[in-house]
């Protein structure tokens, strides 16, 4: 099970120099693109500040989707959950991040780690989709 720690977000904005060319995993040509544009990470990552919450991942049930322990999730509650989205869900007293799968027989919470089983949500579960994950921020 993933556990989550949800934080409030500071609204301070910081503009950073933006290197405006496609960066490949090699050496970029110094002649390409141009410095001078700035990028504000808040603008880039948060389109609905009022609806955006931040959570840190604990656990490894989503590692095959690139979500590792310690990663920061941006949750945009203004997004409507859809089949295949990754969402922060609340189920039976716990927060968890999983892929939401909507199938003919109901909603499934699908982990991205073979060691964890899928979970079929039924009427007995105390369940809510708390918010859709819009970005993952990870330290390399």
């Amino acid at each position: 099970m993933n556990e989550l720690e949800i934080n409030a977000i500071e609204q301070d904005s910081i503009s950073l120099q933006f290197f405006d060319s496609q960066i490949q995993a090699g050496f970029p040509s110094p002649a390409q693109g141009s410095f001078g544009d700035t990028i504000d990470l808040n603008d880039e990552l948060i389109s609905n500040p009022e609806a955006t919450f931040c959570a840190r991942v604990i656990g490894n049930s989503m590692i095959d989707s690139g979500i590792n322990e310690g990663d920061l999730l941006l949750i945009d509650r203004s997004l409507t959950p859809h089949d295949g989205c990754i969402a922060v869900c609340f189920i039976d007293g716990e927060f968890t991040v999983k892929r939401v799968s909507i199938r003919p027989d109901g909603i499934y919470l699908v982990p991205a780690n073979k060691r964890y089983p899928e979970l079929h949500v039924n009427g007995d579960n105390n369940f809510q989709i708390w918010g859709v994950v819009s970005h993952i921020i990870k330290k390399l």
Partner: protein, 435 residues
């Protein structure tokens, strides 16, 4: 039409957002040092726990129920403040003339002059706030604020039938609402007034309204007379001491061009707020309310037009630039929208009173003496050298907002900057959700 948006059991709702296991349970939030009950869930209300009840007396009120079933939580005001800003910001962007009345209540104007359209709009707003921020809100609308307050109360008490929105849009609806409203539940009628009115046989708002205006005026003060008129549907905003000052200080400017950058407009707001607070200090006064407005260019038909304002009440009236700029920036954050051009902006200080007469707020944590000394020092330096020798760091963006002044005499070459972290921010509210 005035609308009042009121968050349901606000502190409890905030706690439930971050801990849904609390849903359906009786929950109370306790004041600092876990003294008294300052918020109750509906379940806690139903058990008979009164508002303001000391924590150790809860047991006395719940009869045979088990005290362990009542979840008691310590207040986390930074968390509530963050959630409140989110809601006020959504309201500010969706509505006009937002007045944040308290952490969980705000007045604004209904956008259409048509009850059906307004009702539809307000229902969508309630749903949007619930989806985005997870907090249930009730909205009442009526011809006056006092009636809007009653309407929001009805919306809150009848979520099934009202779905969170109730309007007192015609006289018969108003009359029947007043019948059902106890006099002590009317906004502005406190405990002593209630007693005085009860002694005269007035138990409901309807009976109060029946009282002749002349008698009300001779028996009570002007505030009570305003409440009386507002219940009759006569808007007393202009005369109400709650929102309108005897005097105001205003600083605003039409920009040299149309500005789209948030930073630039914000820098202008900081400058205006600073300028207003300096004037306030020079008069030995303090302000209780900060109002901010922004306006686009109505004559540019090629661009969408946007204009809005927001006012906030200070925890304690102040003349400190730091405090006033802080509130101005919060108000600004509630109304600024990306993607519009801004031609004009301004800051207005209201509820101005002599500095000597301030009533301190018990919950205010600012060190006012320290701020006063800082402000005096800054004023002395600015008076001696140049009005802009020292200013707050946030005023110094590129200066695009400033009027075209190509021929300024640059007497101040070096300017000091005071860096202060007072952009609308919420220091990290960490909470481990998986205890």
């Amino acid at each position: 039409m005035y609308c009042l948006a009121d968050c349901n059991n606000f502190f409890v709702s905030c706690e439930r957002l971050y801990d849904p296991t609390l849903n359906g349970k009786p929950v109370v939030v306790l004041s600092n040092n876990d003294g008294c009950v300052i918020a109750r869930s509906n379940e806690a209300k139903a058990m008979g726990i009164p508002m303001g009840c000391p924590a150790f007396q809860i047991k006395k009120h719940i009869g045979l129920a088990n005290l362990n079933d009542v979840v008691q939580l310590s207040a986390r005001h930074t968390l509530y403040h963050d959630i409140s800003l989110r809601i006020m910001s959504l309201l500010g962007r969706s509505c006009e003339r937002l007045e944040v009345y308290s952490v969980d209540e705000a007045f604004f104007q209904a956008p259409f002059n048509n009850p059906a359209h307004d009702e539809h709009f307000l229902h969508e707003l309630v749903q949007k706030i619930y989806k985005y921020v997870g907090i249930p809100v009730s909205i009442g609308y009526a011809p006056t604020r006092t009636l809007a307050k009653i309407a929001s109360h009805i919306a809150k008490k009848n979520p099934g039938t009202t779905r969170g929105v109730y309007g007192l849009s015609d006289d018969s609806l108003i009359a029947s609402a007043l019948e059902k409203t106890a006099i002590e539940d009317v906004w502005g009628i406190g405990r002593r007034l209630t007693e005085a009115l009860h002694n005269r046989g007035v138990a409901t708002a309807a009976q109060f309204v029946q009282y002749p205006t002349s008698l009300i005026r001779s028996l009570f003060n002007i505030t009570v007379a305003h409440t009386h008129a507002e219940l009759k549907g006569i808007d007393c905003t202009a005369a109400s001491p709650v929102t309108i000052a005897h005097k105001s200080i205003m600083n605003s400017r039409t920009f040299g061009g149309l500005i789209t950058s948030r930073k630039e407009v914000q820098a202008a707001i900081v400058h205006f707020a600073e300028h207003c607070s300096r004037q306030l200090r020079s008069e030995g006064s303090v302000a209780g309310t900060v109002m901010v407005y922004v306006r686009g260019d109505r004559y540019r038909e090629d661009l969408p037009f946007y204009s809005n304002s927001c006012q906030l009440n200070l925890a304690t009236p102040s003349s400190s630039s730091l405090t006033i700029v802080h509130y101005a920036l919060q108000a600004f954050a509630c109304i600024f929208k990306e993607g519009y051009g801004y031609r004009k902006a301004g800051v207005m200080l209201l509820n101005i009173q002599p500095a000597k007469s301030i009533q301190m707020n018990l919950f205010d944590k600012e060190d006012h003496n320290k701020q006063n000394r800082l402000m005096q020092a800054i004023d002395r330096i600015n008076n001696r050298y140049s009005t802009q020798a020292i200013n707050l760091a946030s005023t110094s963006a590129t200066g695009e907002w400033k009027p075209r002044q190509k021929h300024l005499n640059q007497s101040a070459q070096s300017s000091l900057h005071i860096y202060s972290g007072m952009v609308v921010s919420n220091k990290k509210n960490k909470k481990n959700l998986s205890e």
